[in-house]
Symmetry: C2
Subunit: 316 residues, 2 copies
């Protein structure tokens, strides 16, 4: 089984499963050794009931981390063996109150020595290791509770992919992409307006030659995001951030974030001290991004666009 040596950590799951099996396989014999007539899989249920209180199926399930049907099955097996007894709750007809029978309590007495021996055996094994399995499990449980493995992997993917993104200056070859990417979202959520066409059909004349700038995000050399910095007439601001668009196919690569930061950097290098933008609150991810980039909501600035219902600014 050289498998794990070569495949590495990709197969933690498989490896854990095999270890679990190895640890579990002797369980039946161990119970026999102590003359305890119990199925190992009943143990967690047995244990929580051994405290004496009657419990409902779901309460047991929750405590031991099983599904309720699993507990339901275990209980009916234990009832058959006479280890536990069931009793309908008088005040709540749904509840099935389960508790240890006399025989169950008797077994609980016998099992105490087994507890200590197994516990000591596991501690003896641990004493022979450098790395504490028990504590490591607890840490993993905690970390995966906070953030699932899926999320951890997603972050790695995003990280790796964002390193493949290059932010470059606009060139005439990107005009089509600049238009297409913007038309895509504008026509999805709103209607294209006259001002849109002016800027998108002729970014050269309408944006760049008026002192503006455009940045393009390339993913594997394909333009997947654009963003413009438009020179404003209003003396309170230097530039407006506008025409920001990211291809839906390239989501999850932090392209908006990279583009936004690059454009702020560009503005800074041009000596700007305050950037303006306008948007619409139905574009939640965009608004979120703007907040993350340091923009703050302002009120009372007029807009030529019908679709805008929020204005923001970002001091540099």
């Amino acid at each position: 089984m050289s498998f794990f040596d070569t495949v590495g950590k990709f197969a933690v799951g498989s490896r854990l499963r095999l270890l679990t099996e190895k640890i579990t396989e002797d369980a039946t014999q161990i119970y026999q050794m102590y003359g305890v007539d119990m199925n190992p899989k009943w143990f967690p249920v047995f244990y929580v009931l051994s405290r004496g209180e009657a419990m409902t199926i779901t309460a047991i399930a929750k405590e031991i981390g099983h599904s309720h049907p699993s507990v339901s099955k275990i209980i009916s097996e234990m009832v058959e063996k006479g280890l536990v007894k069931e009793k309908k709750d008088k005040t709540d007809g749904r509840r099935n109150m389960v508790s240890l029978s006399a025989k169950g309590k008797d077994i609980n007495g016998k099992i105490q020595e087994q507890y200590t021996d197994v516990k000591n055996a596991i501690e003896a094994i641990s004493a022979n290791t450098q790395h504490d399995l028990w504590k490591a499990i607890a840490e993993w449980e905690f970390l995966l509770e906070q953030k699932s493995l899926l999320r951890w992997v997603q972050e790695q993917k995003k990280e790796r992919e964002s390193q493949k993104v290059k932010i470059v200056d606009y060139q005439p070859a990107y005009q089509q992409a600049f238009k297409d990417l913007n038309v895509e979202w504008i026509s999805k959520y709103f209607k294209m307006e006259a001002a849109d066409y002016k800027a998108l059909d002729n970014p050269q004349g309408y944006i760049l030659e008026n002192g503006g700038h455009i940045l393009v995000a390339l993913y594997e050399d394909v333009p997947v995001g654009v963003c413009a910095l438009i020179k404003m007439k209003d003396p309170a601001y230097d530039y407006e951030l506008a025409k920001m668009a990211v291809s839906p196919a390239a989501q999850g690569k932090s392209i908006g974030w990279l583009l936004g930061n690059a454009i702020l950097e560009k503005a800074r290098s041009l000596g700007a001290t305050k950037i303006y933008l306008e948007s619409n609150t139905i574009l939640k991810p965009a608004i979120n991004l703007y907040y993350k980039l340091g923009f703050e909501k302002i009120i009372g600035h007029p807009s030529p666009y019908e679709r805008c219902n929020i204005q923001m600014e970002r001091p540099l």
Copy 2:
């Protein structure tokens, strides 16, 4: 799920199972995220085949640590999906040679980025822990390979129980036990002889009053083992170790060992320098015990007992 906090290490198995589940549950979604049309459970098989060589079912099973029927099922599922192809071995008609199909190889290309992201994710999780799960698993695998959990527990049990054994001096109240325990094994393997009855019916007159000693092992105050030190006439020896018997019901508690050591200690305190015994080689556990106690085989000493075919001595 406070369960594990209170039950402690007795439930490692359960706890490992839950962690395995938690790690495994996202696997399907992770494959989806990378557009890889593969069932997570196929992965180990897929991985070993991705090295390019055609392999038999059993070779795969052995390498990944599954049973062969498991691999057999996985392969037929993968064949159905077109990921692998089967081919009967020409020189050995039993063998089913399995290898990746073109489609399988294609997926192998796509999956590479997934490998690195998952590996990095797991390393990122590990970096947030104090205790290294991966290394801890490897250590446990190794230790359980050497000695199963059952054996570890057995040792703990023996250790604990042997602490409940008390070795005490003979008293008339133990005469019945002294006789019964000896009759039990003698009549099981041989026939009771005249010399046996003399010693067992009257240990007081036959052993103690002739300068001998008897020790009794009590387990929870019940006599479960006996052993006598009989004064010898032969000037070469001080005492003979004889009439050692341990109840079969009390096996596995090291009683023979404790009794043997106590009797040697007693002999030493009496100033003896050499102990003699005779036995029969069909009593393998007994002979083993004598060797462990430091006895060595000698030849050419006459015995009054028919059943003896081996003589041993132990210098003190």
